[in-house]
């Protein structure tokens, strides 16, 4: 359902809407248009209004026929000619979800020269790969990319759309979910499928130590974003399967008013997400220079260092060092947190690490509950002693 509404503030009473209406649906009242019951919501008045005073409003359908929406579509991000590894992780998750409802797993590639990746995706159990390959898609514009994925969704009618929670994905996904008047859940840490095709989406919520279980019952598709390193990638199969469908680029791409000024490739930087060993400093550090302790321990272990949000807010470290919902997700083999209390925004982005050691003076700190080894103690005593031992200055 949709309807036309008038923004009175903008209307000049010029009458062009009335002349444009083929149904005689516009009456005149106090020098302003008023729509009557003859309105078919064709939108010609909206198009002809020079003041943009008329708007077409989409109203939400009560409930969709879920059986018409089948399949799990994964947006496979390619930037600078590289498939983002989160795409494979999402395919891995989609294959698990698909077992419950028996739906196919689909993937969509958008970009310039991305067709080459379609064949690679066929080794990961995808039933169909949709490809939108055009030089005009060689750089990211949310509106143009959204036009392509919208076209794909209209063609494939998936019940679920999974997007990597990368900078690009988090810019693209809200435009799409809004376009389809449906729900989008950010940064899901767990996804489960119900037999009725409802996707159970679990994410840390409300900035507290709380998880929320979210569903999108009445609308389709169900959009969710998932961060890199949260799900497991599937194994690559020797033989390829599935089909590749190359679709013409929809006209929304040429209609985009956004133009490219420059695209500068940056060498893929090593980030804290790539580290095998991480030492993390939190609010238990008394001053900025005490981060040296964290750095020294990291160095002695041959690892990297990271921080929590409060330290970034104080300006002690840059955002790319931050673990958490507003920073990065990490999954190293070893993580040692020092003076970190362990709010859910932090722990949900590191709790998949293989070995977790927490050092905090507070025995009740939430971080101790996710740690494999929870040390109640003072980092200012433990760290220097540990560093000395690691450097061989003191023998055990």
């Amino acid at each position: 359902m949709a309807k036309i509404v008038l923004l009175e503030r903008k209307c000049t009473g010029c009458g062009q809407c009335r002349s444009a209406c083929p149904f005689g649906a516009i009456d005149w009242k106090d020098g302003k248009p008023e729509l009557n019951a003859a309105c078919k919501v064709c939108g010609l008045c909206v198009k002809n209004c020079p003041e943009k005073a008329l708007m077409r409003l989409e109203t939400r359908a009560d409930s969709v026929d879920k059986s018409q929406w089948k399949g799990i579509l994964v947006f496979a991000e390619v930037t600078a000619g590289r498939l983002h590894p989160v795409a494979l992780e999402l395919i891995g998750k989609a294959l698990e979800l698909a077992k419950v409802c028996g739906d196919p797993v689909l993937a969509v590639l958008v970009g310039s020269g991305v067709g080459a990746w379609a064949d690679e995706l066929r080794h990961y159990g995808v039933s169909r790969v949709f490809v939108y390959d055009d030089p005009a898609l060689g750089w990211f514009r949310a509106d143009a990319f959204a036009a392509c994925v919208e076209d794909c969704i209209r063609a494939a009618r998936p019940g679920v759309v999974l997007v990597g929670a990368t900078s690009l994905g988090r810019s693209l996904a809200p435009r799409l979910s809004t376009r389809f008047h449906t729900g989008l859940t950010a940064d899901c840490t767990k996804l489960e499928m119900r037999e009725n095709s409802d996707l159970v989406q679990i994410r840390p919520a409300f900035g507290g130590n709380i998880m929320a279980q979210i569903i999108t019952t009445y609308t389709r598709p169900q959009f969710a974003t998932v961060r890199y390193k949260v799900m497991n990638p599937p194994l690559r199969r020797e033989e390829a399967s599935g089909e590749v469908t190359v679709r013409p680029v929809p006209k929304g791409v040429a209609e985009s008013p956004v133009t490219c000024v420059s695209v500068v490739p940056v060498p893929p930087a090593r980030t804290i997400s790539d580290a095998e060993i991480l030492v993390v400093g939190g609010r238990g550090l008394r001053k900025e220079s005490d981060l040296d302790l964290i750095r020294e321990l990291a160095e002695a272990l041959g690892g990297d260092w990271a921080t929590t949000r409060p330290l970034v807010e104080k300006g002690w470290a840059t955002n790319d060092r931050q673990i958490g919902l507003s920073g990065r997700t990490v999954r190293p083999r070893l993580i040692i947190t020092c003076g970190v209390s362990g709010a859910i925004q932090f722990t949900s982005c590191m709790n998949a690490s293989e070995h977790i050691v927490s050092i905090n003076t507070d025995p009740d700190a939430p971080i101790h509950r996710v740690a494999h080894i929870a040390i109640t103690g003072d980092l200012y005593e433990i760290l220097p002693a540990l560093i000395r031992r690691l450097r061989g200055e003191e023998h055990a």
């Binding site: 509404v5 008038l6 923004l7 503030r9 708007m55 409003l57 939400r60 930037t79 600078a80 750089w139 514009r141 949310a142 900078s167 690009l168 988090r170 810019s171 809200p174 435009r175 809004t178 008047h181 449906t182 729900g183 989008l184 950010a186 840390p204 919520a205 409300f206 900035g207 507290g208 709380i210 998880m211 929320a212 279980q213 979210i214 569903i215 999108t216 008013p257 956004v258 133009t259 000024v261 420059s262 060498p267 272990l301 955002n319 919902l325 083999r333 070893l334 722990t347 494999h372 929870a374 040390i375 109640t376 103690g377 433990i382 760290l383 002693a385 540990l386 031992r389 690691l390 055990a396």
Partner: protein, 259 residues
């Protein structure tokens, strides 16, 4: 150039109560502040205004108490401010929130540029900005770390995976900014005195072009919170304390072959 900045009042701590039944955040009784990321958007707006002229309008959806952050924005130099406050707007998810803000923005004026912080510290979704742009049918750029006015629009620089991309968007458009864009100014005492009497406009759903309450709040939200629960911890763990912790940890790191 007329700029609208979307701001939000967030709890100043992360100890927040949630209504177990509806899954909706209980906001009463918790100390609040302006979402820290919004300060960067406001600073960007004030700098562009200083350079280009025009006005800076701020707006927030929230309870009447959210006036406090509009006052704070006045103290930093915003020209005009709105609180969109209505019980029928409560319990909104991304779709309903962004729809409310898009309706609210249209009911207050015509803007060349809409600015948002990159995300909020309570929801952490970073989705509302781009969703507002979609509702308004205007282009957007997210995670922008450099923004300059050129010709009929802006050049926005955004870092993506392995590339730094600068795009040109004609007005009107929406931009969400990163925190490295500018250092936010502190509210000034002088401005605080000057703006003490400045009114904060309060609008309700009745002021919006679309007054169908089914499009707002809980009823306009396609997502439902089914359940709220504490994070499960199934890890087997050991608790240590005492002066020999460093020595024990050193031995364990050896056993795990990290040393």
């Amino acid at each position: 150039m007329n700029i609208f900045v979307c701001i939000k009042q967030v709890p100043s701590t992360n100890q927040v109560q949630v209504d177990e039944k509806t899954g909706v955040l209980k906001r009463s009784g918790v100390a609040s502040k302006m979402n820290p990321y919004d300060l960067y958007a406001l600073e960007t707006a004030l700098r562009l205004k200083a350079e280009q002229g025009g006005t800076v309008t701020v707006g927030t959806m929230g309870p009447p108490q959210a006036q406090a952050i509009i006052r704070e924005a006045y103290m930093m130099g915003a020209d005009d401010g709105y609180v969109f406050s209505d019980r029928r707007l409560g319990g909104a998810d991304v779709l309903a929130t962004s729809y409310t803000l898009s309706q609210a923005i249209q009911s207050t004026g015509d803007y060349d540029l809409i600015l948002c912080g990159k995300q909020t510290t309570d929801g952490d979704t970073a989705q509302v900005g781009p969703a507002i742009a979609e509702h308004l049918g205007i282009p957007h750029a997210a995670w922008v770390s450099r923004l300059t006015v050129t010709g009929d629009g802006v050049d926005a620089c955004q870092q993506l995976q392995d590339v730094i991309e600068t795009v040109h968007m004609p007005f009107p458009c929406l931009v969400t900014v990163e925190q490295d864009i500018f250092m936010p100014r502190l509210p000034s005492l002088k401005t605080a005195r000057e703006t003490a009497e400045k009114p904060v406009h309060i609008l309700s759903l009745d002021d919006f072009p679309d007054q169908d309450e089914n499009h707002y709040g809980l009823s306009g939200s396609p997502t439902q919170v089914e359940r709220i629960f504490p994070p499960e911890n199934d890890t087997v763990h050991e608790s240590w304390s005492g002066p020999d912790s460093a020595e024990k940890l050193h031995r364990r790191l050896k056993a795990w072959k990290f040393v």
